[in-house]
């Protein structure tokens, strides 16, 4: 059985505007991160993979099934959209039961599956609670549970941690890693930390095109020797902001400690080990995908 998503030469247009351009990706079992800014085309790609949108050109197969065969694709794909909710007056169990029926799961199996999934997402104690009474994090966890109802070979989650507090975010990431052990999970996000904590392979999408496709360690490797730190006086900051791409800064002992990208080391700066956020910003910068991120000031 082919446990791979293959995307070849994918194009997508909205009218005359090209949303995706010549996308080529191969996604294998495990967690795969799709990183990109808002508007990069991540949601469009997710919706094409879930048959909610039509592609213009290219070929896509999911576990060997052509994307055009939407009936079969729907059987093996689970989807957690970015912006979703559920019938507010239904209870957690009722909404799972309803969606389970729509997934064609038999009564006995459905009951067992719902109990298993609610336990897995830690919502067993809330199964009689109305959807409208759930917190944001609980709703997201319910979202994952519903996406796993049909025990899909492929799970697609679009910006799942937006709006969650740090504790819920960590819990959610762990949940994703847990379910990724037996299926393909595509995690689309603009939050670099989500990728860092969960994915081995990633792609960076920018303005509809793939900027990077490979491993997280490969991405880190590209940024090595290009990330520096330096403690500077406040008076120096405006000049440095203009000349270098500052990723972060914080004040300590009357000095501002900056972290920045550069091709060469400057006086008083120290080269440091890049993290994935540094590498991501470096990749965008090197590929002309961004020019101005002067310490957060545009």
């Amino acid at each position: 059985m082919d446990n791979t998503i293959r995307i070849e030469n994918l194009d997508k247009y909205y009218g005359n505007k090209q949303a995706l351009s010549n996308i080529n990706l191969t996604v294998e079992q495990g967690m795969f991160g799709l990183l990109g800014r808002n508007g990069a085309g991540k949601t469009t790609l997710m919706k094409i993979l879930t048959t909610l949108l039509q592609k213009k050109n290219g070929n896509i197969t999911i576990c060997g099934i052509p994307i055009e065969n939407s009936k079969e694709i729907r059987k093996i794909v689970g989807y957690l959209p970015q912006d979703f909710s559920m019938y507010p007056t239904m209870s957690v169990f009722e909404v799972m039961n309803y969606l389970g029926i729509l997934s064609g799961i038999g009564a006995k199996e459905r009951k067992d599956r719902i109990a298993f999934l609610l336990k897995k997402v830690n919502l067993s104690d809330h199964k009689d609670k109305k959807v409208k009474a759930l917190s944001g994090g609980m709703k997201r966890r319910l979202g994952i549970a519903q996406a796993l109802l049909n025990n899909p070979k492929v799970l697609i989650v679009d910006e799942p941690t937006v709006g969650l507090d740090p504790e819920e975010r960590i819990r959610f990431r762990n949940l994703l890693c847990d379910v990724a052990s037996e299926r393909i999970v595509i995690l689309s996000t603009h939050i670099v930390g989500d990728i860092e904590a969960t994915c081995e392979k990633i792609a960076i999408l920018n303005e509809g095109s793939i900027l990077y496709y490979g491993t997280v360690s490969g991405l880190l490797e590209t940024a090595k020797g290009n990330v520096f730190t330096k403690a500077v006086d406040n008076g120096e900051l405006p000049k440095l902001k203009k000349e270098y791409h500052i990723i972060s800064m914080h004040t300590h002992d009357k000095k501002t400690h900056i972290r920045f990208l550069s091709d060469v080391c400057i006086d008083g700066a120290e080269s440091c080990e890049p993290n994935i956020e540094d590498a991501y910003m470096f990749y965008l910068w090197k590929n002309g995908a961004t020019t101005d991120f002067h310490g957060g000031e545009k």
Binding site: Y14, A19, T44, Q54, K71, D83, T89, L99, L102, S103
Partner: protein, 396 residues
């Protein structure tokens, strides 16, 4: 299982509760839940017994009455008409007025100029217009048809409306025949069920559209569309199940009300053979197609536009149909009517005479409803695939 879930979803909507309240309140206000004051009895052949009046195609009565009416309307140059069911006063221009004068002239032998009110000195004259004696009924109807065309249709002189000039008293024999038909064909309960359907039909052909719109918009409002679109279930199964669920939720309370209404007279016919299934048969045969088309229009246009525009579409059809229906209250039918009328208790002869037209009409309406449901399934599947609907537009 899905069917029951959809039923439960509908039952908990405010729209359905409003539908129920409206159905019960209007049934009660129209006095159709208790027919005990309308008991049908056998006619008695007594001297001077009044059995009521009826319209009948009696040329000797229709021709002079219709001619007199035409002359009066001509003199005032104001013709009452219901071209698409709406009451309208038509005024003819000089050209048409002259043509109308020619019709009156042909039927009375009075010169056109005199009818138009002119003589050679251009002074108005008083004339008496009397229908010629040698005009055949067929020829008279031809002239009336021309008069109706000049008015623009829907006047009192159209082929169907001209019969209203033929009111005659019902004879004992006719009353006895009517009673026997009610006894043998309707078994009494059928007559009451028919009258119930006449009253409730105008609700059943409009209110269900609100329920189907609610059902179709619910997924979008709850932001559940993506979760449902990506499920394994076929669009056919989902849309058709929802259609059946709404239909069931409309028909069940209607059947219950039909039985409440019918039960009110059962004990008045002790010893008679009653048709206890009549309320069910009439609701299914008479009202079901109206409910189906109302629901189907709601589903199709809501899925197509993601708006409640179906209220306007169905509302317009309903409004026109209701107004046109005024001219066929007694049970005359046409092939494309939305709400069949039969605003009398009994009158079984007309029902039987018109049965084939009514049956064909109900089949046509049912067929159109299924066509609309099929179109809804197609639209729904295209939306699921992002071929039509909001996903085709630019999104962030």
């Amino acid at each position: 299982m899905l069917f029951l879930k959809e039923i439960k979803k509908i039952a908990l909507t405010i729209t359905f509760i409003v539908f129920l309240v409206a159905l019960i309140a209007i049934s009660a206000s129209q006095d159709i839940l208790d027919f005990s004051d309308m008991i049908i009895t056998a006619p008695l052949q007594l001297q001077g017994e009044d059995f009521g009046i009826q319209t009948k195609e009696v040329p000797e009565q229709i021709m002079p009455s219709a001619f007199d009416s035409l002359c009066e309307e001509f003199a005032a140059n104001e013709y009452v008409a219901y071209p698409i069911g709406f009451h309208k006063i038509v005024k003819l221009n000089d050209n048409k007025r002259e043509k109308m004068a020619e019709i009156i002239s042909a039927l009375s032998d009075v010169p056109v100029d005199d009818i138009l009110g002119y003589n050679t000195d251009n002074d108005k004259i008083d004339i008496e217009l009397v229908l010629k004696e040698d005009v055949s009924y067929e020829k008279f109807k031809t002239y009336m048809r021309r008069a109706d065309n000049l008015i623009g249709g829907g006047s009192q002189y159209s082929d169907t409306n001209i019969l209203t000039f033929g009111y005659v008293e019902i004879t004992y024999n006719e009353a006895a025949e009517q009673y026997n038909l009610i006894l043998e064909y309707d078994h009494f309960t059928g007559a009451y069920a028919r009258l119930f359907c006449d009253y409730i039909g105008f609700l059943i052909s409009i209110l269900p559209v609100f329920i189907s719109i609610t059902v179709c918009l619910k997924d979008r409002r709850a932001k559940m569309r993506d979760l449902i679109y990506t499920r394994q279930i076929s669009s056919f199964k989902l849309v058709f199940t929802r259609f059946l669920a709404v239909l069931t939720m409309v028909i069940i309370p209607t059947v219950i009300l039909a039985y409440i209404s019918n039960l009110s007279v059962w004990n008045h016919y002790d010893g008679m053979v009653l048709d206890y299934l009549a309320p069910l048969k009439y609701v299914l045969g008479w009202l079901l197609p109206s409910a189906m088309i109302s629901i189907a229009v709601g589903m199709l246009f809501t899925e197509l536009t993601n708006t409640p525009i179906a209220i306007a579409i169905q509302g317009l059809w309903w409004f026109i149909d209701i107004n046109i229906g005024v001219s066929r209250l007694k049970g005359v039918h046409n092939l494309f009517e939305l709400t069949p009328r039969h605003n009398s208790l009994g009158n079984t002869r007309i029902f039987l005479d018109e049965f084939n037209t009514l049956f064909t009409n109900r089949l046509i309406i049912t067929g159109i409803a299924f066509m609309f449901v099929t179109a809804t399934i197609f639209v729904y599947e295209q939306k699921r695939r992002g071929k039509i609907g909001g996903y085709g537009k630019i999104e962030k």
